[in-house]
Symmetry: C2
DNA sequence: AAAAGTGTGTTAGTTGAGTAATACGGTTAG
DNA sequence: CTAACCGTATTACTCAACTAACACACTTTT
């Protein structure tokens, strides 16, 4: 069962998209595995203090992408194979890294400065 | 005169916020300097193909933060001192780096992997 | 002085994200 | 079996990010 313990919505990204990201990142990290049960729409919405429809929107997206399987009346569960997983990993990584490198370059930061900064900030609590 | 040549709105961030970011990053990079003239609200909105009110919102934010000065009838111009600049630099850097480190850690990426990835992706054209 | 360009303010509409309340039928545990 | 839980669907509402079209007063330019 996926607990959503360490899920904390933040930033300007819509919550339903953050839920999708949380699942994808967990899958890449290996903490979310094929066959894992998801909490019900109602339970999760109560847990996160958001509307059931917002959770539904996130789960719909995940199902469209083939990452979860749902049937009316029963709980949803993860459907992941290795190929899909490495694809997701590559997508997420290239997107995130493209964003940060673009931002840092626009600020005139050199590659060496960037690496030094990220190295220094890696263990920060925040 | 700030040209907005290399400004390309993208992503889910509101355009008026992207304009603010563009100015701040340019200031940090040194390509935008104290006293520099900004294009008028109307000209910039025509250039970017967006509504004048969207530009106005961006410029209002910049003025609230003291980064530009405006007087009715005349063009707006940058008002930057060294202290404010280093503060902006620190704010932008810590925010961006916090976002990327958080994302990579959630995917189970180690510090060494992260540095290797960013190093490899740095020169990517995209 | 007059025209053109400028910052500023107002009102109104559209779109998408998210909230809210409710209903229906399928699945599962007691 | 049946009650509790579940996925799914519908309708209506709020709110922020824009879009659109003006009007007014100030400045710079000619």
């Amino acid at each position: 069962m996926i607990t959503f313990e360490d899920f904390r919505p933040e930033g300007s990204l819509p919550v339903y998209r953050q839920i999708v990201l949380y699942i994808k990142r967990g899958a890449v990290a290996g903490s979310i595995r094929n066959g894992d049960e998801l909490p019900s729409r109602r339970m999760l919405s109560a847990l996160l203090g958001i509307n059931p429809n917002t959770v539904q929107k996130a789960f719909s997206l995940l199902e469209e992408e083939g990452l979860i399987t749902s049937r009316a009346g029963a709980k949803s569960f993860m459907t992941l194979d290795e190929e899909r997983l490495t694809q997701i990993r590559n997508d997420l990584l290239s997107e995130d890294i493209q964003i940060i490198t673009s931002a840092l370059r626009q600020m005139g930061i050199t590659k060496e400065e960037a690496l030094a900064l990220i190295s220094r900030f890696w263990e920060e609590p925040r």
